[in-house]
Amino acid sequence: MFFLLGFLSCLAVIQILKLKKKYTFKLPARLLIVVGICLLVFAVAWTISSLIEFENQAAGVGMLFFGGSSLVCFSIATRFTTKKTGEVQK
């Protein structure tokens, strides 16, 4: 499970770095993205742990609750994000 969480975190960071080339993140967006990633990782960890102990409802509700919260964070973060324009790298 921890391998998967590490892989997921790494993937998220790579994705953010890629997006950073195209977009400008204001401070609230940066904070929301960090919180969102943490919540997403927590949601995955919670769901896997709940499935291990055969608590299917806990797994589902956990994914809905924590995963949903992370999506909310990401969607709010887009409001504080602007696309980079006109800059040409030499």
Binding site: A45, W46, S49, E53, F54, N56, A58, V61
Partner: protein, 492 residues
Amino acid sequence: MNSTKNLDKKITRRDAIKIGSLTTAVVAATAIVSPKETLAQTLNKSVEGSSAKRHATIDDIYKIDPNMRRFDQANTAFCKSVLNDFGIKPLNPDDNPQLKNAFMNVVFSSDGFNPISGLENPHLKEQKPGHTDLDLALDTGALGMENFTSSAFARIMANESGTAISLPDGTLMPLSLYKQDVPLPGQFKKFPKKYKFETTDDAAYAIKKAAKLYGADLVGIAPFEERWVYNTEAYIPFDVNGQPIKEEVNIFRKVEFDFEPKSVIVLGFEMDYESYKTQPSAIGAAATSMGYSKMMETSVRLAFMLRRLGYNTVHAGNAVGVSVPLAIQAGLGESSRMGLLITEEFGPRVRLAKVYTDLDITTDAPKTFGVKQFCEICRKCADACPSKAISKAVKTTDPENKPMNDCNGKGIDKWYNDHQKCLSFWGENWGECAVCISVCPYNKIDMWHHEAARSITKIPGLRNLARSFDEIFGYGQAGSEKLMKSYWKRRI
């Protein structure tokens, strides 16, 4: 100028060797001179490892009447029920008809027929989920070790004193549940030479280490206090052949030790989480029975070890004295609304055994981690209880929270529950209940996310959220036939 020149000077290889050697020498000297951590200190570190608050004695946590009368074992609902069914006059005359056939139905549930009352187990007859032949066989197997050993000891006891419960199949068991203060053969006798531990801390370490090896999940040590010893204990007067003893025998005996106990080693055993989710059923009862078998095995082993070291012991499961206050004093957990011990590790899903000894040993301090405050708000056990036997009073000090009958030990700051109502449901169910344990929000397995969730119960403003979250997330769904049916289909 000179100083600047010195600063600018590069560190040579020789200087580096000098500095390195000096540092190594200093570190080595410090390691040699500094006091070494004793084994006991190492163990205490691992025992601590929680955010719980420590107290000097149990009286610092709960208000206990100094004139409190010691509890009589014959006043437990179990003893009352058995005495009722055997037609023996109880210790106190105000006995309750609710208890008729209650415990004996449970004892004979696997046979499907209670020979004392002539009643049949209806659940087994209709192969109700949780009470099928397979489920009851699981329970019988789990209790096997306890029944086998206690029966053997009871036979010795019956030969010695002529008092033990005899079941029609010839099994003999002492009502006090394996208090084995009988003469033992060979190496199990007390060794004539006493082994001396260097310190009482070392003794505690050795005993705890051995108890863990022998199978205990939790170990704590409490000082011996007479107030937690039963005033009298009860025996049913049947002889070794299972025949009722006609002549006058003393059913209720004063609990006495033939040595001066100094401390009590309290052992805790986790009961299986998955099985407990199916309560009230024979599958859940199997987890309890496994607990009883472990209690027997581990307490016997520890007592025999202590006897080999030259010390006196009396080991007991539910006998000799009340277990919950001893476990609290031994630092294993806190008392709860349902009256059971709540541990940090397994919640209320533990069984307790104890070994009384005259070995000088360092005792543990009681701890609190917010159980009482959480129980005041939660009340999930009281709502789920099938017989409505658990108090719904908000605080223990509320006027409606008062002793129900003789089954309650009086003079202690706790919630008073109706144990007779509780046991009467066992009789109806032809098996144990333990729904309160199953639904308790503290009843979780040792996993990181439960640790995180449990920390909510320690935050005053968030305590009322803990129960709601527990229910939304689907924990503690007792009595679910779906869970009973799916138990055997789940992968191992």
